[in-house]
């Protein structure tokens, strides 16, 4: 299984990567929004994309806006990391598959992995 993780917080990416490594899952980490968008556009071999919504500069919303403008359907694979509880409607309006709330729990992360494993 291949996962793309886009989050600017290095402590979080390290913790998620640490868990994924233990579960034998390949994880590509991007900490910059624009680079994350390019990665999504240029590669289509990820089974799951974990995207933080509040990346400074070019945010998760900016990525979702651009993907929508380019008619790139993201609902199949994107799960959103968010710590805010007020933006659920907006996030789901992009047709994403789900939200993993921060602080992220191992159970929620594993449930997302199980959902897209096959």
């Amino acid at each position: 299984m291949k996962i793309l993780l886009i989050d600017d917080n290095k402590e979080i990416t390290e913790a998620v990567a640490f868990y994924l490594e233990g579960a034998d899952i390949s994880c590509t980490i991007i900490t910059d929004g624009r680079q994350g968008l390019n990665m999504i556009k240029n590669r289509n071999d990820f089974d799951l994309i974990l995207l933080d919504i509040s990346i400074p500069g070019f945010s998760g919303y900016d990525i979702l806006d651009e993907l929508r403008e380019d008619n790139i359907i993201v609902s199949r694979i994107i799960m959103i990391f968010t710590a805010s509880v007020l933006d659920e409607e907006r996030i789901f309006s992009y047709g994403v598959k789900g939200i993993i709330k921060k602080p992220i729990s191992i159970d929620d992360l594993q449930a997302a992995i199980d959902r897209f494993k096959d």
């Binding site: 402590e11 998620v16 233990g22 579960a23 007020l86 921060k102 992220i104």
Partner: protein, 289 residues
């Protein structure tokens, strides 16, 4: 030459013009105040989002690593002492997370943005998992904890956000845990149907210190606690019951405390039954509110 009538008309016209101008200015003031209010509300919403983000983001590594230690063994095995310390850390992360969630829930209820993921669920399914999750809380005080579900109620379906209803039951039971005596504590969840009003009634009863009658009115208000020393002793935000009220009302139900119950505290809430055809009657889930 102007007649008296002409002069009067002129005077009245001037007065009207002045009044008109005043009204116009007042309308402008109100418009400005309204715009300011919208700006303030948006700023408040952004601030609350930022607070939630800033408080919850640093908790992620703490939560994930402690869970990796305790659940997965990915980070190696712990001896008993290390496990106790790790559990302590994880529990405190959970407490802080719950505190932030409570504050955010009250804010969302306040601005009408509580998102409910409503689905049809059987009452028995709704309660079963909740009870098993709450059971460990009874261990410290050896509390007798039981659920009494009327057989007809178990088969009934309600449309609700099951996570939110579980949150309500959990809040009520956790409150009871804090207030029952150290010995012979008892907490009961009773579920029954009120077919006359097409509702299913959930009641959490305990043999704790009870609610003084004069304080019952404030019980479901935000930031209200019967006794502030309780906060220091048991923690909590004083928001739990206000959140319960908001969630139940968002489901079209009602929550109330039974003022006539003298053996401790008894709080009930009612949810509409799927496909029910209410026959009318008193909709209050309990004897009084």
């Amino acid at each position: 030459m102007k007649t008296n009538l002409d002069k009067l008309v002129e005077k009245r016209t001037k007065e009207l013009e002045i009044k008109n101008q005043e009204l116009f200015e007042r309308e402008k003031d109100l418009e400005r105040a309204n715009q300011e209010l919208v700006r303030t509300e948006l700023a408040k919403e952004e601030f609350m989002s930022m607070v939630s983000h800033e408080l919850k983001t640093p908790l992620t590594p703490l939560k994930m690593y402690s869970e990796m230690f305790l659940k997965t063994g990915v980070l190696g095995k712990l001896d008993e002492k290390q496990k106790r310390v790790m559990k302590l850390m994880r529990n405190n992360v959970s407490k802080l997370e719950m505190f932030v969630n409570d504050v955010m829930d009250v804010y969302k209820l306040d601005i009408g943005k509580l998102r409910l993921n409503k689905k049809e669920v059987q009452v028995c399914d709704l309660i079963e998992e909740n009870i098993s999750e709450l059971q460990p809380l009874m261990q410290d005080k050896a509390i007798k904890f039981e659920a009494a579900i009327d057989p007809p109620a178990a088969k009934i379906a309600v449309v609700c956000d099951s996570k939110r209803i579980e949150q309500v039951i959990s809040n009520l039971v956790k409150n009871s845990v804090d207030f029952v005596p150290d010995k012979d504590g008892r907490i009961t969840i009773k579920i029954a149907t009120c077919n006359t009003v097409g509702k299913v009634l959930f009641t959490v009863t305990d043999n704790g210190t009870g609610i003084p009658a004069e304080k019952a009115d404030n019980l479901f208000k935000s930031f209200y606690q019967i006794d502030t020393t309780i906060t220091r002793k048991h923690g909590g935000t004083g928001l739990g019951l206000a959140i319960c009220k908001g969630i139940i009302e968002a489901h079209g139900g009602k929550i109330s405390v039974d003022r006539n119950y003298t053996g401790g505290t008894s709080i009930s809430f009612a949810l509409p039954i799927v496909g029910s055809n209410p026959l009318g009657g008193n909709e209050s889930p309990s004897t009084s509110e």
